[in-house]
């Protein structure tokens, strides 16, 4: 009887262990598919509009240009309003980020304490602006699913510094793009929410609009892609400090 009991519980444990592993593998492959979709183009360049809204509904508009190459190189530069034109942000592999403010005439490396701060008054933090492969930053866990979407919990991998304790993301089952993301701080409080509107251009899906809400500030930013161009063989030289400060 005792042996049967032991065999039963061992099998049960193995079943749960296996099902969890399968679950983790599924979640990881879902996340890999998201990365595959997001970083499918070799490179992309776009003109974006940012609409900042405060809790009273007052809006401020910024325009910017965005260049992306591969998974880990991104350059973002404001073109308006005049007071912010030229402010540039460069994201490179290994969490290296630089900021350029034309008034100072030199670049500055972004220290880790700044990464959780809003980038130039928007609701995107420097961490949000960083170009990064989700699967290389987060461990994924499948929380639930329905007909249309998977619901994943993403926890930063060991050694990855993030201001978010975890991120919950809804992924479209048909196309593998994120529909909604919710970010939580270390006290378990939801601090950010972003809603994605993906459209297809040629063979690539891309986020036509990202609506990011900072729940603490009660402030939101809609980042709208006005134009986009894929695979124009952007030079690596574009993603250098040399280019960042050449404004």
């Amino acid at each position: 009887m005792k042996i049967k009991f032991l065999i039963f519980w061992s099998l049960t444990a193995i079943f749960f262990l296996l099902s969890n592993t399968t679950n983790a593998q599924d979640a990881t492959s879902i996340l890999n598919n998201v990365d595959k979709l997001l970083f499918a183009p070799k490179d992309q360049q776009s003109e974006v509009q940012l609409i900042l809204s405060d809790k009273s509904g007052n809006q401020r508009i910024r325009e910017a240009q965005l260049w992306q190459k591969g998974k880990e190189k991104r350059l973002f530069r404001f073109t308006s309003p005049a007071a912010e034109a030229g402010i540039g942000f460069l994201s490179l592999p290994d969490e290296v980020m630089y900021l350029y403010m034309p008034a100072f005439g030199k670049e500055r490396r972004i220290a880790s304490h700044v990464k959780n701060q809003p980038f130039a008054g928007t609701d995107f933090t420097y961490e949000d602006m960083e170009s990064v492969n989700y699967a290389s930053k987060y461990k994924a866990e499948l929380l639930s699913q329905d007909d249309k979407s998977w619901y994943l919990k993403l926890t930063p991998l060991e050694g990855i510094r993030s201001d978010y304790a975890w991120v919950e993301v809804y992924v479209d089952k048909q196309h593998n793009y994120p529909l909604r993301m919710e970010s939580y701080d270390r006290s378990g409080k939801k601090v950010k929410s972003s809603v994605y509107t993906f459209v297809k251009d040629g063979s690539y899906w891309y986020p036509k609009e990202v609506h990011m809400t900072d729940l603490k500030r009660n402030h939101s930013t809609r980042m709208i892609s006005k134009t986009i161009k894929f695979d124009s063989n952007l030079s690596d030289d574009l993603f250098t400090v040399r280019n960042l400060i050449d404004y």
């Binding site: 007071a83 034109a85 969490e95 500055r108 220290a111 304490h113 700044v114 959780n116 040399r242």
Partner: protein, 450 residues
Amino acid sequence: MRKVFVFLFIMAFLADLKSQETLGITGHLLTDQRLGMKNENPWLWNENRLSLQFNKRSNKLRFQSEIWVRHLGMPQYKNLADLSNKDKVQPISLDLREASINIRGFLFEPLDLKIGRQRIAWGTADKFNPTDNLNPYDLEDILDFGRHNGSEAVSAIWNFSGTTSLQMVYIPFFRPANLPLAPFSGLLSGPEPTLEEWEIVSIENNTFPPKFNLKEGAILGGRLKSSIRNTDVSVSYVYGRDGFPLPEKTTIQVLQNFYSTKLINELVFPRYHIFGADLAGSIGSVGVWTEAALFLPQEEFKQTTYFIYDPSLNPHVYDTVLMAKKAFLKFVLGADYTFKDGSYINVQYLHGFVHERGNGQLNDYLLFGWEKRFSSDKWLVRPIAGGIATTEFKDFSKNYGLIYSPEITYKGIDNLEIGIGAYIFEGNGGNLFNGLKDFNMIAAKMKYSF
């Protein structure tokens, strides 16, 4: 009138450029007013500035320029005839801050060549950069310590892969620092000289610039910049000159009444070899930086004094060593941190201010600021901002200076900033902040960018 013609010419030239290809014109309108808190509240600063920035790109070339058109200071009319002179009643000044052409990938893809009047900003510290010695200081505004003028220069940067680059700079003509405008003009020149038993009735300070030739007038510099792990580092060298003059020869002439003297200084600008290094990175979540410059005078600097009791007799001559041929180090240690609530703190320890030089002559400064943004960044409040200066921490009470400069800025409308603040000084002894204690002031500023 000539200035107006020059300005119209520049504008016509730029308008012509614009008609050929897109010329970007941006800039700002700034008014900066400061009012003394003592003695009938005099205006201590009146600046109304129109900054015009021009930018044009074509292929590998980039033209860049900035011009300031300003009403600075007070009207200078003293008699009736001056009222017919617009330069006295409505003084306007033109300041060509920068005008240069940058050629990207000149001859070789990694080489950038920039020629013309330009600002070459070196160093990673916040505003106080001991390694930033190519452009002369522009200290006309005593409270804008980090400002430099542009220099006519040739700068070549070789960009290696990643973040590594080597820059070489040649500046053919030395230009000294701009000293502060009245009423702050004497603050960086040190105390007025005194002579025991003699009254100095007049002082003449004549400056002798270096010869404008290849050897004496030029400034050379080089800087290697890179990053190691998560830290940006650079090392630099400058063969330059002190932007603040020292008296090489002083003539003291006793006047006929035998109790008073006339003092004539011949001021020159000493040569230095300046070795610099800086780094910026983070320790944990705290941003840190340090920057240091070792100044090695090219030669011992002596002041020769000629004391003339009677012009018919030989003068009494003696030498005083003002600066030994001994290196001195200026440095900055700094840290900053942004708290979860978005408030920001910045602290810097500075050894040696911009005008200080020589071993044993460098003061210590602790500068700090704490700021926070409110209402979706519409308001920026700096309730704690200022600094402490001392010659010797051990003897603090005898020689210290304090500055407190709180500020509130409204940024609720795009492109517009309106700020009010105050500058309060206190101290004892011969340091800079104590020298400002008669100039406590309130300040108001408006800036519109376009």
